[in-house]
């Protein structure tokens, strides 16, 4: 119900005024959530930590999104048959009832130009483009049987993050913080980091709050300019000056609180104090220059740059400090093969080089700090890519078109299996043959790992209880250790 926010403030008032006990108060307000779950939290701050529905496997999430969608056939889902049939027309059955974003006419099969081999104890077979990933593949669950309903970037990204292909609904990180609050009130609970120079295709709705209160929207932390918008004091004002002015502000606000008796004023006073603390804590967490050289070496980071490597290190620093949900977008994975800047031979290896080392470093770093056990890391694009060469307008560069019927993602930490491959596709990697996992199933599973029942985490809007998984989704128990 939308009263949640206002009522939670009403609770704040009572809390501040001390007229009522802390008590049950606004507890039934997290609509759809069992009151018993909220009982343990029992405070008014909408970002205050709240107990989940049941014992969680992970407390926080780092979601690594490769915007544009990397080709599964060249990285994770080994298909020797494709190489065998390379250059031959694809089977007619591939074209029946199909719409493609760009492919026209009868395309030809495209075998992966890259070698695959098994790695680690579990022997997960992956591509030579991911040498660092080989060293962590014993820690991951690889899902080769993901599928989606959407075959264009923006709708597919929105579908993945909001459960619906058009912008309007809350995103996964918003649901997570709505359900659980956050563990560090000096930092935003849901942080978004972007690299590759572009926002995701789906725009801000991929990390928005939809019709949830806006307090749950993802806060984009930037590596260039203010890390959070307006976190810096104005030119000519130093920290001591800001403190002096906030002292005056608080004194006057307290007078006004007494005059009007409106507890919203008290909430506001506390939000200004929090803002003051964030002015220190946000730049502090965003400043990776203090990390020791071996950490920079591990991640391949260079302070002051906008890069996926920097963002991976930042993600670790953020979850270490209790941020609930870190959403990373890296732009540039849309491997169509229209030219050297988006092809399989030049561009894909370059992107993999940027990604592979820091992503593997993130897993190792979380592990060595004991954070991997209760942090879930997810790596995905928004859909898959075709088994056929796109050859748009007769392009001679190799590339693959959008493909919703199957793709690969992986997960690590947070109580998912280690060194496990889930699901399978046919020999041409065109359709799923075993254990399909739909986007709504993935969402249900992520919420489950966080200790929430996706059918109970609801929000009433326009007369209906909405949830991340719409009216679908099953937890994929097989992924859990």
């Amino acid at each position: 119900m939308n009263l949640f926010h206002e009522k939670s403030h009403a609770t704040t008032r009572r809390h501040f005024l001390g007229k009522f006990g802390l008590g049950a108060l606004a507890l039934s307000l997290l609509d759809g959530r069992a009151a018993s779950a909220a009982l343990s939290g029992a405070t008014s701050d909408p970002m205050a930590p709240r107990a989940p529905h049941f014992v969680p496997r992970a407390k926080r999430v780092i979601y690594l999104h490769m915007a544009g969608s990397p080709p599964q056939q060249d990285l994770f889902d080994h298909k020797p048959k494709l190489a065998e049939l390379n250059g031959q027309p694809c089977p007619d059955s591939f074209l029946q009832m199909e719409r493609f974003a760009f492919i026209k006419g009868h395309p030809t099969i495209l075998g992966s130009p890259y070698k695959f081999a098994p790695h680690g104890q579990a022997g997960i077979t992956t591509s030579e483009l991911l040498p660092h990933f080989h060293s962590i593949s014993d820690d991951v669950t690889l899902v080769n049987s993901m599928f989606t309903d959407q075959f264009n970037h923006a709708p597919a990204q929105l579908f993945l993050y909001t459960g619906a292909p058009r912008p309007e609904r809350p995103s996964m990180g918003a649901w997570a913080t709505y359900g659980l609050g956050t563990d560090n009130s000096d930092l935003p609970g849901f942080v978004v980091l972007v690299s590759g120079g572009r926002q995701p295709d789906g725009g801000k709705a991929t990390f928005g709050s939809g019709w949830l209160p806006s307090v749950y929207q993802g806060v984009q932390c930037r590596t260039v300019g203010d890390p959070v918008l307006y976190v810096s004091d104005p030119p000519g004002m130093d920290r001591a000056g800001r403190r002096r002015s906030l002292d005056a502000l608080r004194d006057l606000n307290e007078k006004q609180a007494a005059y009007f008796g409106d507890d919203e004023t008290l909430t506001r006073i506390s939000q200004y104090e929090l803002a003051f603390r964030m002015q220190v804590s946000v730049p502090d967490v965003m400043d990776i220059s203090k990390e020791p050289p071996e950490v920079h070496e591990m991640y391949g980071t260079a302070p002051g740059k906008q890069s996926l490597a920097n963002n991976c290190l930042l993600a670790r620093r953020l979850v270490e400090r209790g941020v609930r949900f870190v959403q990373i977008f890296d732009w540039g994975w849309d491997i169509h093969g229209t030219g050297p800047s988006d092809d399989l031979i030049t561009h894909l290896p370059a992107k993999c080089k940027e990604m592979d080392r820091p992503v593997a470093a993130l897993i190792k770093d979380l592990k060595q700090r004991g954070l991997l056990d209760d942090t879930l890391v997810v790596f995905s694009g928004e859909f898959g890519r075709t088994a056929m060469n796109e050859a748009r307008n007769g392009s001679t560069f190799l590339g693959r078109d959008h493909h919703p019927h199957c793709f690969s993602i992986w997960m690590a930490g947070g109580g998912v299996k280690r060194g496990y491959v889930h699901g399978a596709t046919d020999e041409l990697g065109y359709r799923i043959t075993k254990d399909p996992v739909h986007i709504h199933d993935l969402q249900a599973t992520i919420l489950h790992i966080l200790g929430m029942d996706h059918e109970r985490l609801t929000y009433r809007f326009q007369g209906r209880d909405f949830r991340l998984t719409d009216v679908h989704g099953k937890v994929v128990k097989a992924l859990l250790a």
């Binding site: 009403a10 006057l252 939000q271 732009w331 326009q462 209906r464």
Partner: protein, 792 residues
């Protein structure tokens, strides 16, 4: 919690224990029973005939008393003991009990008792209150008649007296002036307006102010802001590419419509079907851009029909929500689970809106060129001349004359062509073309079919245009097209439109609607706090020819509105959210008002009206979008300081401070902004260069206009920002801040210059940097005071 007994209205009595139904009078279906059934049963046993689990529907008496598949009777009127419904909801057995365990819902013993009592009393069903057209009843009798200024007050007071509460005294004049100025115009009063009002001690002083505000241009801008949220107005097309769209003339039409007090019924018909009116004017065509604000997908490989269909769905949902407070969207995929709209009826609505020419094309056709006949004629002439120049050049090039003279001639003709093109383009730029509604010619009309499970790809039976039966029907003789539909929306027989409109208006003034869910008046919505008042307002609105200004005036002149907003402990305990209106409204200003107020206090706000959207200060990097080279280029001069509603709105990257203060993304209709209170808001009003610039402006005004004594300047800053005299030692506290700051900045002149001038600009003649910097810090504090950010 629902008050189960008397009074049968939503909320309050909240903390006080509600009398149990067994103790009070007869059970009322709408107040007591429908919410229980709707919340717990209708999802599987409601109006959705396809669902009707076990063959049971509980939404009508006829269905509920009919034998189910297992030959049970859910309800046997007068006999709760024989009613399967009671057996099931009261059962302790998981296999028997309803709702089933996976629903995570269980009825309370009190709810079961209420259901039993209702069945015992005969199980009378009533249509949902919102389906019965409003009737204006007698104003209720009250004890404190002296307090009442209008019928509004009688309704409010009657409820307060019933609850044993009393209204608050009238707010002081300064508070009231600021409140009503912000509410009617979105702008705070100027110092002169404050002085004038304080000086006018006549009884009519307040009403004079109200009339002045209603007559000002700013009124239309303020109310357009609200309407633009509903219209999902934006300057881009949305989806991935999110290219620019020229549609600002529609925004200007809305402002003008409010300013001219266009009756709401005409306002409605123009937007839904202005193109179908006899002799429709240019303005009528521009108005139809309301529904061309739907998103347009230019991404490669998309199916235009999919996105055309998505736009029509959006139009159906938006129309039903904006005018009727009906959440029709559910019925796109299946019959509505709570409200009486079947899947088929949904597509009856869809059919009304399915005959327009637009089809998700990149050029957004059909479009309409806005401008005078003279300007259009001039463009036509320039275009003709351009064609002539092009023809001349082409003819000459065809001769293939390669001599020097020939090349010179080709050069001359090329220049002539380019000049003609530049001239035509310059004229075209004066004549914006915006997307509008036009119907398809009769031979190209579409046949509307049900979209099975909401998918445009799997279509079922054909459907004729029509409105859901429960809401009435078009008047006899009306065309069964968009125009007939538009007129039906504002027909007096329509039970919802006037109620929804007055409720939305009420919410703007009081922060919460009489029906809290302004977007949903259906079965799942909370009941109105003051149902008779809602109906009286609705009828009064129609009786005054749907005049929005009259509606606003009747609200702001009521004693209810004029109350002080100071809390009283005894009332806070009973009704902390002020749903009973025992005090005046107090809540944070919306995003646009915050910005406009700060710029206004600073004397920076431009009062230029209308025109293309503008680009005020925005941090770098907000517009880094895929597939777009478009960039944010800071507007020059006063366009930097226009009212917030003129700010260019890009759907995938909205203006950041607006988003922080709860504005939506304008991707779909936003009937209600949920207010939040966050640290990011504090950072914005403290540090956003727009607000720092405003603080610098306020500081300069204080030095210029606030007298020479620092204390009087501090008081003047309060007057500029909060519209009242300083109180309770506030000026002294600001003065002590000022003294500390000026000492600090005297020792740091470089910082003083930055604080006083970045980004507003060089120090004015005769002002010194440390002094101005110190006043800027003071102004920054005052602009961030709770009372400044709040309507008091």
């Amino acid at each position: 919690m629902l008050g189960v007994g008397v009074p049968r209205t939503s909320e309050p009595s909240s903390n006080a224990a509600s009398p149990s139904p067994t103790a009070a009078g007869p059970v009322d279906f709408n107040a007591d029973i429908r919410p229980i059934l709707s919340n717990n049963c209708f999802k599987c046993h409601g109006p959705d005939e396809a669902k009707a689990e076990g063959g049971l529907r509980l939404d009508t008496l006829e269905h509920a008393t009919a034998p189910t598949k297992k030959n049970h009777r859910a309800i046997v009127p007068g006999k709760p003991g024989e009613s399967e419904l009671i057996k099931r909801v009261a059962s302790k057995d998981d296999d028997v009990r309803m709702p089933p365990p996976e629903m995570h819902k269980t009825l309370t013993p009190a709810e079961v008792a209420t259901l039993s009592k209702w069945i015992e009393e005969g199980a009378a069903y009533k249509p949902h209150w919102s389906l019965v057209p409003p009737v204006r009843g007698e104003s209720p009798a009250v004890k404190n008649t002296a307090w009442c200024r209008s019928f509004i007050d009688a309704h409010v007071l009657a409820r307060l007296e019933k609850e044993g509460l009393s209204p608050s005294p009238e707010a002081d004049k300064e508070t009231l002036l600021r409140r009503v100025s912000l509410d009617l115009t979105g702008l705070p009063p100027s110092p002169k307006e404050i002085d004038d009002f304080l000086a006018d001690t006549s009884d009519a002083a307040y009403e004079r102010v109200v009339d002045r505000l209603l007559a000002s241009d700013a009124y239309g801008e303020r109310w357009a802001r609200l309407w633009l949220d509903l219209a999902r107005f934006a300057d881009t097309k949305g989806y991935e590419k999110d290219d620019r769209r020229t549609i600002w003339p529609y925004r200007d039409w809305v402002i003008r419509a409010f300013n001219s007090d266009m009756p709401f019924d005409r306002f409605t018909v123009a937007q839904i079907a202005g193109d179908l009116l006899d002799n429709s004017s240019d303005d009528d065509l521009i108005a139809t851009a309301f529904h061309r604000n739907t998103m347009n997908n230019d991404e490669g490989g998309t199916d235009d029909e999919e996105f055309r269909s998505a736009a029509v769905v959006d139009r159906v949902n938006t129309t039903m929500q904006v005018w009727m407070g009906v959440t029709a969207g559910c019925a796109q995929c299946h019959s509505h689970k709570y409200d009486p709209i079947s899947h088929r009826e949904y597509f009856g609505l869809y059919a009304f809106l399915n005959q327009t020419q637009d089809a998700d094309q990149p050029d957004e056709s059909p479009t309409f060129m806005v401008g005078s006949a003279e300007d259009k004629a001039k463009l036509a002439a320039l275009d003709a001349s351009l064609r002539d120049r092009e023809a001349e050049l082409a003819a000459y090039v065809a001769k293939n004359d390669t001599t020097d003279a020939g090349k010179a001639e080709a050069d001359r003709l090329t220049k002539a062509r380019d000049a003609a093109r530049a001239e035509a383009d310059a004229q075209r730029a004066k004549l914006p073309s915006l997307p509008i509604f036009r119907d398809l010619p009769p031979e190209k009309r579409r046949t509307t079919k049900i979209h099975l499970k909401g998918s445009f790809l799997t279509q079922g039976d054909p459907v004729e245009p029509g409105v859901p039966a429960a809401y009435g029907d078009l008047r006899e003789g009306e065309p069964r097209n968009r125009l007939g539909f538009a007129r039906w929306l504002v027909d007096r027989s329509n039970p919802l439109t006037a109620r929804v409109a007055v409720n939305r208006c009420w919410e703007q003034f009081f922060g919460t609607g009489l029906v809290e869910t302004v977007e949903d008046f259906g079965s799942q919505a909370p009941l109105p706090t003051h149902p008779a008042l809602l109906d009286a307002l609705a009828v009064d609105f129609m009786d005054h020819a749907w005049s929005m200004k009259q509606l606003c005036k009747s609200i702001v002149t009521s004693a209810t509105y004029r109350q002080s907003s100071r809390a009283r402990a005894e009332c806070m305990e009973r009704d902390a959210r002020n749903r009973l209106l025992w005090r005046g409204p107090r809540f944070r200003l919306d995003a646009e008002m915050l910005r406009d107020s700060a710029l206004s206090a600073a004397g920076l706000l431009s009062r230029k009206l209308y025109g293309p959207s503008v680009f005020p200060r925005q941090p770098d990097g907000i517009w880094a979008m895929p597939y777009s080279g478009d960039s944010w280029v800071l507007s020059a001069g006063e366009d930097r300081f226009r009212r917030a509603l003129y700010t260019f709105f890009r759907r995938t990257a909205p203006y950041p401070s607006m988003m922080t203060f709860d504005a939506g993304s304008r991707e779909s209709c936003l009937p209600r902004r949920i207010r939040t209170n966050t640290p990011l808001q504090a950072l914005t009003t403290l540090n956003d260069p727009v607000f720092v610039e405003a603080a610098q402006g306020v500081a300069r005004r204080a030095v210029r206009e606030g007298g020479s004594d620092p204390k009087s300047r501090a008081a003047y800053i309060i007057k500029l920002c909060i519209g009242r005299a300083q109180r309770d030692g506030e000026a002294e506290r600001l003065l002590s801040l000022y003294e500390g700051e000026i000492a600090h900045y005297r020792a740091n002149n470089d910082n003083a210059i930055k604080m006083a001038t970045d980004p507003l600009g060089p120090l004015p003649e005769g002002m010194n940097a440390p002094e101005l910097a110190a006043w800027t810090v003071v102004a920054n504090v005052v602009l961030n005071l709770d009372e400044t950010l709040t309507k008091n």
